[in-house]
Structures are given as C-alpha cells and as structure tokens.
C-alpha cells in the first residue's frame, strides 16, 4: 500500500474511532474466526440472493406500474398489440421488450427468488440434520422459520404482480382459500381485495406488500439472524482440536471476507447466467388475465407446489351446519395443513429438548447418523412434503407418462401415508447401521484385508487401529447423543436440573415424555444388547 493511501486509511479509522470508539470492536471483528465446511455456504447463498433481489427489485420498480387500470397495449410485442389489458401487465411487457436489459433484470430477479427460497430450505435441512438448532441457537431457528415463510409469501406476491393469466389464476385460488376461513373469511377477502374478486385495488396493495412491507420485515429479521450468529459464533463439526468451547477456522479478515465476497459474485453470476440462457416466467406467452380463461397445466413456482398438491389431493369434504358452510376441501389443505407444518417446524427444537431433557449448550454439530430418530423424522417430513410437491403436478405427470389422471391422484393419496412411514423406518435403520459401522471402526480398527493364522490355528483378519486423532473425533461424534445430562448440564445453578435424581415419572405427560425419551435414545439400549465390549470411555469436552 502506498504511504498516501495508508495515511488516508489510518485517518479514516481514527476519524471513526474518535467518534464511535470502535477500534476494539473492529479489531475483534476482524479477528473473528469462521469455521470452514461446504454446508455453511448454504445460508450465504440465501443471504446473497436476497442482496441480488433488493438490487434488481429496485430497478424493476422504476418501470413497473402497479395499476389495474385498463390500457390497450401498443408496444413492440406484436401478438398482443391492440389487446386491452391492465397497466400492470402492459408495463411488464414494456419492461421486457422496450427497456434494454429490462428482461434480463426481470429474469435475474425471478431466478434469484427461486434460488432464495431454495437456499433457505436447504440451509434449514443442514441446520436440522446437524442439530445446529439446539440451545443456544433456538431463537435463531425461530427467526429462520419466520424468514422461510415470509420468503414463500414474498415469492408468491412477486409472481402475482405482472397480472398475466397464470398469476391471475394463482390469486383467484388464494382468494378462494381466504373465503374458506370460517366466520371471517369473506370479510378478509373483501377487505384485502376491496370487494369481489378481482377488483381494482388488489394489485397496488400487493405491490406495496411486495416491495415495502415484506422486504422490510425480511431485512430486519435477516439482520437479527446475522447479529445473533455473529454474537454466538458459528457451530462446527467435531474435528481435530475442536471442542465445545472453541471455534477453529479462518479469520474474518482478510481470508474469509475475500472468499465470501467471491461467493457473492459467483451467486450473482449464476443468477445472471440462468437469466440470460434459461427463460423464466414468459408472461407474454400467457396473455393478460381474464377471469373466464385459464390455461391447462397452470403451474406455480416450485415453493407453492406443496400447497397446490395438497389442494389437488385432498378429498372433497364440505359441511353445512346451522346455515354455515365450511369447505374442508380448501380449509384443511390450504390453511390448516401449512399452519401445522410450519408450526411443527418452528417448535421442533423445544419438543426435542423437552423429550431428551437436554438443557446443555451445543456448539459442536452432530452427523445425521448420530441422531437416528431426528434424522428419520426429518426424512419423514421431507417425504410428506415431496408427495405433496409431486401432487402439485399430477396433471403434468399423467400427461407426460400417459397415466390415468385419476389413478395418479389416487396413488398419491395412498403414498402420502405409506412413503413417509417407510422413510422413517429406513432412515432410522440406515442411521443405526452407520452408527454400528462407526462403533466397529472405533473398537476394532480398520480391516486391512490381511488374514493371519494364530498359533492356536484360528484365522483372524488383522485390524489396523484407527489413528488416534480420528478415533478421538469419532468417539466425540458417537458419544454426542448419550443422555448423560449430568455431564452435559451447563452447571447453571438456577436451572436446577441435571440428569441425576430424576424422579419416577408422574402423570400422563411425564410418562409420555419418559417413553419418548426411550424412543429417542433407542440406540443406547440396542447397543447394550448386541455388544458386550467393556464400556468405552468417551472423551467429552
């Protein structure tokens, strides 16, 4: 660095510190250590796609007219010239065909939105299956679930705005879902849409929800998410030299910040690549919205598929009692099911901690195999969601593979109960098997393929002991879910809870908890039966 630049930088730092006293904070921040693992990038993808969404979204607002006013299109897209349509749709066409780069930015925005929700979901998988949501990170899990729900809503609002035939159909279904809510449904729908569907008010209202309200909340929650992460320090997988009380990795400045900036540009680059060569949401092909039309094979964005699938697969129940109609065929798949699903995800950490009586702090991650029941539960939920996802395109499947539509739907209605149960069973078995393999590795070492004959005449295969470091890590990983809470207890006197002296369970709730606890820690019992090795001493940090 030239001395002039150095002096300038120094002066700037001084200037800021003289006013904020920030030098100590700055130094600690620069020295902050970030652990290194590929799966920690998933959250970064979500963060950076949000940045891309903000940048491209601001550009789009400069050209989009959030208005249901009727205009006659007169732009350069020939097939729709002279067609009456809303200003919202016309301005989207103008942006796509008459603004240089407008289509590109629109497509970057849409691809980044698809990536945003996808990265959030995969990031949640990582956090779930490695137990990163455990204390002390429970609050960040709750914020994360909120972010996921908002991201889905934001995406839906976004692709509803252009007011093409496809997005209009999506809004029509959303209106019906609102109508199905008992007592207040019609009022909710009327107040949100300003009257009967579709009305003149919805597009401008949706616009402000999409560009101000939800992004504002997203921004606030993402900031909180990042600040908590910064404050609590990142979790890490067990490894050489890693303990519950330290972080091992690279410093934030300069290595991590250069790497992560590179990653920002790579994510942006991939979105641009997709936007350039992979068409997304070609609204001009769908035509303007018209309540008397719909196109076959109407498909939402991927993150709405599960709702679409649940609406398609649910049986046609409706009740009419005391002069009031409840359409269960919309209420359950459209409102209650996602409500239960999202709430279950949100409270899972609390439920697990309650069952396992785990009050300890956890900074080291678990491998999915180390907690077979949790992993199996996750697989169950993903399978359930996956069937709904497939159900959302039953017509496309039936059409593509020349299956009967009815048979496809009925099969999925059965599979949604069968496959999640199978997923639970097999995932748990695989986890236990992998654990067993690890135990074997730990106790007997690695098979060398060398057969030896002993003086007594017995043939044995020579096992090579694991390197000390590796067996230490393995023991750490395998020992993680042992329910010795006395050792895990954080010594937090006021909590007054440790594993010792738990009384015989009293009451139905306590008994349920006790049996669930046994279920969760099944491995321990299984092991006691099958192996009579001397109890291994696990080194626990």
């Amino acid at each position: 660095m030239s001395s002039a630049a150095e002096t300038g930088a120094k002066q700037t730092l001084r200037y800021v510190d003289d006013r904020l006293g920030s030098a100590n904070f700055l130094r600690r921040s620069m020295n902050k250590v970030f652990p290194d693992h590929w799966s920690f990038m998933l959250g970064e993808i979500a963060l950076y796609s949000f940045v891309i969404l903000l940048l491209t979204g601001v550009y789009l607002t400069l050209f989009f007219h959030a208005s249901s006013r009727e205009v006659v299109y007169n732009g350069s897209y020939g097939p729709l010239r002279g067609v009456p349509m809303t200003d919202a749709y016309a301005s989207t066409l103008h942006l796509s065909f008459d603004v240089r780069g407008g289509l590109l930015v629109r497509q970057i925005h849409h691809w980044a939105a698809v990536l945003f929700v996808m990265a959030i979901v995969v990031h949640m998988f990582r956090v779930f299956f490695t137990g990163a949501f455990r204390k002390p990170r429970t609050l960040n899990w709750h914020i994360g679930v909120g972010l996921m729900i908002l991201a889905v809503l934001e995406g839906f609002a976004g692709y509803s705005l252009p007011d093409d035939l496809l997005s209009g159909t999506g809004i029509r279904i959303a209106y019906s879902v609102m109508e199905s809510i008992p007592v207040v449904g019609t009022y909710l729908a009327y107040f949100l849409f300003g009257g009967n569907y579709p009305g003149q008010d919805f597009i401008p209202r949706l616009f402000i929800i999409h560009v101000l309200l939800v992004p504002g909340i997203l921004l606030a929650l993402i900031s909180a998410h990042m600040m908590i992460l910064w404050h609590q320090k990142h979790t890490d997988f067990p490894g050489p030299g890693k303990t519950e009380n330290n972080v091992v990795g690279t410093q934030f400045y300069p290595t991590f910040i250069i790497k992560t900036n590179g990653f920002l540009f790579l994510v942006f680059g991939v979105c641009t690549l997709l936007a350039t060569f992979a068409q997304i949401n070609p609204v001009w092909l769908y035509g303007p919205y018209n309540p008397s039309q719909v196109s076959a094979g109407s498909q939402p964005d991927w993150y709405i598929f599960f709702l679409e699938g649940s609406l398609r697969m649910f049986p046609n129940l409706e009740s009419n009692l005391w002069g009031h109609t409840i359409s269960w065929n919309i209420l359950i798949p459209g409102v209650i099911l996602p409500g239960i699903l999202f709430n279950l995800i949100a409270v899972y950490p609390t439920i697990e901690a309650w069952i396992t009586r785990d009050k300890a702090y956890h900074n080291l991650l678990q491998r999915p195999r180390d907690t077979p029941v949790r992993t199996a539960l996750g697989a169950t939920l993903i399978t359930f969601w996956g069937i709904l996802y497939i159900g959302g395109q039953n017509d496309v499947l039936a059409n593509t593979f020349h299956w009967s539509l009815q048979a496809t739907t009925r099969t999925l209605q059965v599979l949604i109960f069968v496959l999640p149960a199978l997923a639970f069973y097999f995932t748990r078995r695989v986890c236990l098997g992998l654990q067993h393999h690890d135990e074997e590795l730990l106790h007997h070492g690695i098979e060398t393929g060398i057969i030896r004959r002993l003086p007594s005449g017995e043939y044995i295969e020579v096992h090579e002991p694991l390197p000390a470091q590796r067996s230490e890590v393995l023991a750490m990983q395998l020992g993680h879910d042992l329910p010795d809470h006395a050792a895990l207890s954080n010594g937090h006197g006021t909590n007054g809870t440790n594993g010792q002296g738990i009384a015989r369970p009293v009451g139905p709730l306590a008994r349920a908890r006790a049996s669930l606890e046994g279920f969760f820690f099944e491995r321990r019992e299984a092991k006691a039966d099958s192996e009579d090795d001397e109890p291994k001493t696990l080194t626990r940090p």
Binding site: R28, N31, K32, V33, F97, L104, T169, R172, I173, E179, I181, P182, V183, T186, Y190, F191, L192, G194, Y197, D201, G241, N245, N246, T255, I258, G262, L264, L266, F268, G269, T272, L273, P291, V294, L311, R312, N316, N320, H324, T325, I326, S327, N329, I330, H443, H444, I446, T448, G449, R452, E458, E461, P467, Q469, R470, N490, H492, E531, D532, D533
Partner: protein, 408 residues
Amino acid sequence: MSDKENDEAPRTAHEASGSVFDRLKHPTTTGGEPRERGRTASARDIEGEVLERGGMAPDVPEKVRPARKVGRRQPLTEKAAAAQAAAYSVPSDEEGTHVVPPGAFGVDHDPAQVDPREERFAEAQVSALFALTAVGVIVTCVGYLVIDPHRDLGRLINYAIGGGLTLALLALGAGFCLWAKKLLPHGMAVQQRGPHHSPEEEQLASEETFFAGVTQMGLGSRKMLRRSLLGAMALLPLPAVLLLRDLGPLPGTRLRHTGWKKGSRLVDVETKLPIKLGDIEIGGIATVMPEGFGKVEDHALAPTILIRFAPGEIRSKKEAAWGANDHVAYSKICSHAGCPISLYEQQTHHLLCPCHQSTFDMADDANVIFGPAARRLPQLKIDVDADGYFVAQGDYSQPVGPSFWERG
C-alpha cells in the same frame, strides 16, 4: 472385567462348549480360553507383532496395499501435536483469537510455504480473471449501445448484455476465490467461545433491577392504576381497526349475485355477439356472459358455459328442464377454488378444471365424479326468446364459485 463377570464366565473349555446357548453366551477360542464375543482380534492383540501405520506387513508390496484412507486429514506429527497443545493451553487473550500453524490441524498443504514461482503464477491467474471481468463489462456496454433492442424480439441484446455480465461476475467471483485460496494465509485460527450466558450474579442483579422497577411502578399493588391502564391499552387499537374498515365493502349478499338478470341474452365472451339457436353444433360449447357486460373483470362470477347436447343425451330431468332445446348453461367458475373450468370432453360430457382436476359430468347435472370439488356446478335457467336468441330466466339460484361461511 469386574469380579462379577468373572464369576459367570466358564471355568473350563468343556463347561463353555456345553450347549450352543452357553457357547454363544460365553464364547471361547478354539483353544478353549474364554474370548470376548463379536470382537475380532485386532493387531494389538497379536503378540510379537508391532504393526505400524503404513507398514502393515513386510511381505506385502507397497502398491497392492489397500489404499484405504480414513478421513482427509493426516495424523498429527509430533511437532504439530506439540504446537496444537501449546495453542490450546494458552489462555485466551482479550480478543480470544490465536493463529496456529496449519500443521497443528493436520492440514498437509501450507500455502505460506509455496514456491515463489508458484505464487507469481497464482497472481497471474487471479489477475487474468479480473481482466476477464473487465472484458465482460465491455461486452455488456458495447452490446447495450450497439445492438438493436427489437431485433429478434430482444433476444440478441439479452444474450449480449446477459452474457457479458455473466462473464464479468463469474470471473470476478472466481478471481476472489482463487485469491483467497492461493495467496492468502491459511493459518488456522482458534477462538475461545466464552460463556453463552451472563454470570449468575449478573442475572440476579438484572432481575433485581427489573423487579425493583416493577415495584416502583406499582403495577402489582396499585389495582386501579393497573386496571385503567389495561383498559386504555385494550381500547387503543380500536381506531386502527376502524381505520381499516374502508379497505373494502362488506360482503353482504354480493357473493350471491353474478350479473345475470331475467331476459339477459347469452353473449359470447370473445365476439360479444348474442348466441342464437343453431350457433353451437352438437357437442360444442361456448363461454358466455350476460349481454352488455362490459369487462369480464367486473363480473368475475358471471362466466357461464353453454353446452349443446345431442337429443336425449341429458340424463338429468332437472337439467333438461332448466335448459332449452338440448342447450344447458352452467357456471364456469369451479365450485372448488374458483378457477374457470375449460376442458370439455365431447364424448364423455366430462368437464375438467385445469387447476385441481375436479371433474363434472355435464350430462348428469354437473355431478362431481372426481377431484376435490364438493358441489355440482350451479345451473343457469335459460330459454329461447322470440328471435331465437338464448336468454337467462334470472340469476343463478345459488351462489356461484367456491364455498364461504355465509353460503348456507
């Protein structure tokens, strides 16, 4: 092994090899000595053999040894282990970060030790990537200024500026990553985490401060104050709720009306021409709106489907009675989620909703034969007027579209 276990173990080979059950329970070696079950002898158990890692057996040639590698990390060298131990034993300093040599964590590659020629090459690589970014930016700018934006529906300009931007961003990202990977120090750093919670004294002190404030405010003791405050706070949101009232009209009976009146002619939604007897062929359908409807958006519940059957095809008596001359009119708005139903199968008279695949048998009064819809589609009573045009005999007799609470 504890004494208890010793007691249960068989004392002789004969004792141990008695029954299969006993043998399973107390396995013995072929020599009759008790042996732990389920455990193959490890190298450690073999007397007189010291197997070192990497040197399994002298008679096995180097190349045919199993290339089994556990983990990616190398075992610690003594020096590295010492460095690691030293790093952890140092009490965490103020910022809690120590940098330790890469070897301490078994990382075998140390970028700090690279050959200077390699380093110069890496620098050239990174710089080349940054130069590519500049090229990408130039491609974007030239494309923007030079290419006719309307050529090939804008496809060309999209490829040019999108391609340029992609190149610029990917090269920049790759450059940064390569820079971090090849040129920046990779010394691993260790940071102590410190406690996640405050010391207990601090927790107690803050609780005390909080409750002292509660006492001072008197929310516990001053009942009147507390109740009036709760009352006031409960009322405060009322104006906010009231202000939202004008977001829309109250539903009232609006969801029950569609815009069809007695005597409205059935007008084709596309051509806006009234439909006459004979306009539709047998097996044909048309989407119709009430005459003079203006825009479909203003009457989103009105779209109606007019179907012509061959004589005698209609199986429902009510359906035939509400129709006219083998023509029947049904709401086009699905009774499930409100999509306009559009797929009609002439042979089977099935009408399929493309949104959720509810299927209605139009020859049997729009009976639901498949899918999530719970109700038949409402039928519109029609007639033929003196001039041979189809007219409605009134509005739908029941609400059209998806169900709602007040539907009844």
